[in-house]
Amino acid sequence: MLPEIGHFALILAFVAACAQAPVLLAGGRIGEADAALFGRRAAILIFALTGAAFFILMYAYAISDFSVFNVFQNSHTAKPFIYKLTGTWGNHEGSMLLWALVLALFSAMLAWQGRAVPTTLHRLTLGVQSLVIAAFLAFILFTSNPFERFIPAPSDGEGLNPLLQDPGLAIHPPFLYLGYVGFSIPFSFAVAALIRGQADAVWARLVRPWALAAWTFLTIGIGLGSWWAYYELGWGGWWAWDPVENASFMPWLAGVALIHSIRVVERRDALKGWAVLLAIMTFSLSLVGTFLVRSGILTSVHTFAVDPTRGVFILMILAAAIGGSLTLYAFRAGSLSATGSFSAVSREGALVVNNVLLVAACAIVFVGTFYPLFIDVLSGEKISVGAPYFNLVFTPIAGLALLLAAAATLMAWKKASLNAVALRLRYAAIAALAAAVIVLAIAEREKVAGAIALALVVWLAIGALTDIAGRVKLFRAPLGQSLARLAGLPRAAWGAALAHFGIALFALGASGISIWKTEEILLMNIGDSVTVAGYEVTLKNVEQLTGPNYVAELGQFEAVKGGRTLALDAERRFYPVRQMQTTEAGIRARATGDLYISFSENASGAGWPVRILFHPLVGCLWWGMAITAFGGAMAMTDRGRKPARARAPSRAQARRRSQDMPAGAKTAQA
C-alpha cells in the first residue's frame, strides 16, 4: 500500500508543478500577488509530496520490502542497515528521485525567500523552476518509476554493488546533487532576467548566495567522490578524467566563472549578458552530466544503465531547457545593457580574463570527454582520450588562471595600477622564486615541472594572504587595529581569500601526487620485504576473514622508516551475492604523504601481487578542497554590500517594486 501512496504522491507533485508553471509565468494577468501566493504554496506542496515519496522508498529499503522491484534489485537482507538506507539512491530510479527531491527543496527555499520580498523577478524565477521540476517528475513517472511492484515478492534481493557499500559513496551523490541541482536556481534567475530584459545589482545580489551554495556543495561532492575513489577503488588514484568525473568538473569550472562574474554585476553593473550566459551554461552542464550518466552514452565505470528511452527523454529535457534558454538569450540578451565601464587593467578586466581561461578550461574538458563520441558518430571509429591529453592541455590553462587569480584580488575595481599590484605581490613573487629554487636544489627528479608547480602554489597562497594582510593594514597600522579590522572584514573577502588559499593547497597536493609519486608492483610472499620511498615494507601475514556479507583476504604489512614501525592492513573482499571483488587499500597517512598498499589474489601460487605506492602531500588535496568549500560557504553568508539600503522599509523597496511591475507586465503582454 505504502509504495502506491508514494507513487501517487509523485503524480500529485507532477500535477501541481504543471499547474504552478503557467500561473507563475503568466502571473501578470492573473494578478501579481495571487499568482505569487499560489506559486509559493505549490512549491512547498511539491516539496512535501516529493519528500513523502522519497521517504516511502527509503522505508521500503529499510524494511527490505522486496515486492518493490527497485528494492529487490538493489538491496539484500544481509546488507548493513545503514547501506540499506543509502541504497535508496545507489541506483537509477532512486537517484533520480533524490534529484527531484533536491530540486523541490531548492524551489521551496526560493519560495520561502520570495515570501519576504515578492517581486516579478522571484515569481518568474519560481515559474521557470517549476518547469524544470515538472520535466524531471515526468521523467521519473514515465521512464523510471521507483515504486514498480514485483509480485510475488522474492525472499531476498539481488544485493547492492559492493563498491557502493562505503561511507564515502553513501554521502557523495547527495552533495553532488545539491551542487548540480542548486545551479538550477541561478539558471531560473537568468531566464527570468532574460524574460524581463533586466539584470541589475539586485538580481546579482539575489543570485549570488544560491550560486555560491551550489558551487560549495559541488566542491564538497567532488572532493568526497575523489576521496572515495582514492580509498576504495584500489588503484591509488584520486582523479582519472573519467567521463562521469568530468561531468561534475565542467559545471564546477563554469560555476567558478559564474560566481566571479556575478560579483562584477553586483558591484559594477557590467558583464550582465556574460553572467546570464554563464548561469545558463552551468546548469546546462549539470544537465548534460545527468544525461551522460543516465543515458549510458559513454562507457564509464559509473554508468548505471544503458536504456535509450531514458536517454531520449533526458535529451528532450536538455533540448527544452538549454535550447529554450539559449534561444531566449539570443533574442533578449541584447537588452541587458551595462552601465558600468572599466579599463582593461582593473579587477573587472582581470576577472574577464580569468573567466575566459575558466571557460576555455571547461571547453577543453568538454572536448576531451565528448571527442570519442563525436568521432564515433561521424566516422564509426572508436578512440579514447586519456589523461595525457587533459594533463597536457588543461594544466597550462589552469596554471595561467591560478597565476592571475592572485593578482586579480589585489586589483582595484574600475581602474587599477599595475605598479601598485606588482609592488604588493613582491613578497609572493620572492617566495615563489624561492620555492622554485628549493625544488630545483632538493628534488631528485622532475625538477622543472615540480619547480613550476610549487612556485605557482606558493604564489597563489601568499597572494591570498597578501590580500587579507592588505585589507587589515597589517604592519601599517597598530596590531590591535589590524585585529579589529580582521574581525570586521566582509565575509566575501574572507571567502575569496580562503577559497584561493584552498585551491593553492589543493594544487600542492595534486602536483605532489602526480609529479613525485613512487610506485612498486611486485609479487610478495609472507616474509618478503621491499623498499619504497624510504619505507621498508614487509608482508607479515595473510589471513582469511568473514565480514557481514563478504569474505575477505587480509594482508598484514609492516613498514619501517627511521626506526618507526607502521602497521598496514590491506583487504581484498569478495561479495558472493554479486560475485564481485573489491579492494580495501591499506593506507597510512603521514605528514609528508600517504603510504598506500593494495594486493590481489595469489592466483599462480607464487605469491601475492602487491602494489605499494607513496603519495607525497596527498593530504593537501583533501584539506585544500575542504578549505575551498569552506571559503565558498563563507562568501555565501555575506549579505552583500548594500543590504541595509535594499532592506530599508519605505521608499527604496517601494520604488523597486514599482519599477518591477511595469517590466513584468510588459513581458506578460509581449
Partner: protein, 179 residues
C-alpha cells in the same frame, strides 16, 4: 552586442545536441560495426622479450580454428581478474588464446607471465599500440572471438567473467565451431 554573436551559444548547443541524439543509438561497449564479420586487421608483431615467436594475423588465420585474441598488459589490474579463467582454458585445451601484450615496457610482460603463468599459444608485442588501434581497443583487457575463416565475430570489453564466458562466449564458440 551583435546579434550574430548572441546566436553562437545556441548554434553550439544544436550541434552538440544532434551528436548526442545520434550517439544514443549506439552501444558504447559493442565492437565498431566495421570490424564485425570482417577479416582480422593485418598485423605482424614481434615476440616479447624471452620468447622466440611473435604473432601475426597470418598465424591466426592459418590455423583455421576458432580462437580468442586477448589484449592485456602487465600494468593492467583488471587483467589479473580474468587471468585464472584464461589459465583454466589453456590448461584444459579449450580454445587457442593469442595474446597481444599492449603498451608494456620491455620485459614487464614476460615477468608477469613468469609469475602468474602463461595461457597464450602465441604472444605479440604491441609496444606502441599500433595494432591495438587497428582493433579498436579502448582499454585492457579486451578479448576478440575469431572464427575459422579468421573473421572477428565478437568483442568482450573488460575482463571475461565466469558469467560472460557461460552466457555469451562459450555458446558463441560452440556455434562457430559447428558452422
Amino acid at each position: 552586442m551583435n546579434r550574430f554573436a548572441l546566436l553562437i551559444p545556441l548554434g553550439v548547443f544544436i550541434i552538440v545536441g544532434a551528436v548526442f541524439a545520434a550517439g544514443l543509438w549506439r552501444d558504447p561497449s559493442r565492437i565498431p560495426s566495421q570490424l564485425i564479420d570482417r577479416p582480422l586487421p593485418v598485423f605482424n608483431l614481434p615476440p616479447i622479450e624471452g620468447f622466440d615467436e611473435g604473432l601475426s594475423s597470418d598465424h591466426i588465420i592459418g590455423e583455421g580454428e576458432v580462437a580468442l585474441i586477448n589484449v592485456w598488459g602487465s600494468w593492467c589490474v583488471a587483467c589479473h581478474i580474468e587471468h585464472p579463467l584464461l589459465m583454466a582454458l589453456a590448461e584444459n585445451d579449450v580454445i587457442p588464446i593469442y595474446g597481444i601484450d599492449w603498451k608494456d615496457k620491455p620485459g614487464d610482460g614476460t615477468a608477469w607471465l613468469e609469475r602468474f603463468g602463461n595461457p597464450y599459444t602465441r604472444i605479440g608485442d604491441d609496444m606502441d599500440g599500433r595494432v591495438a588501434i587497428d582493433f579498436g581497443v579502448t582499454g585492457a583487457p579486451e578479448t576478440f572471438v575469431v572464427d575459422k575463416q579468421g573473421r572477428v565475430r565478437y568483442k568482450q570489453v573488460g575482463p571475461i567473467t565466469q558469467q560472460a564466458w557461460d552466457d555469451v562466449l562459450w555458446p558463441l564458440i560452440e556455434e562457430l565451431r559447428r558452422s
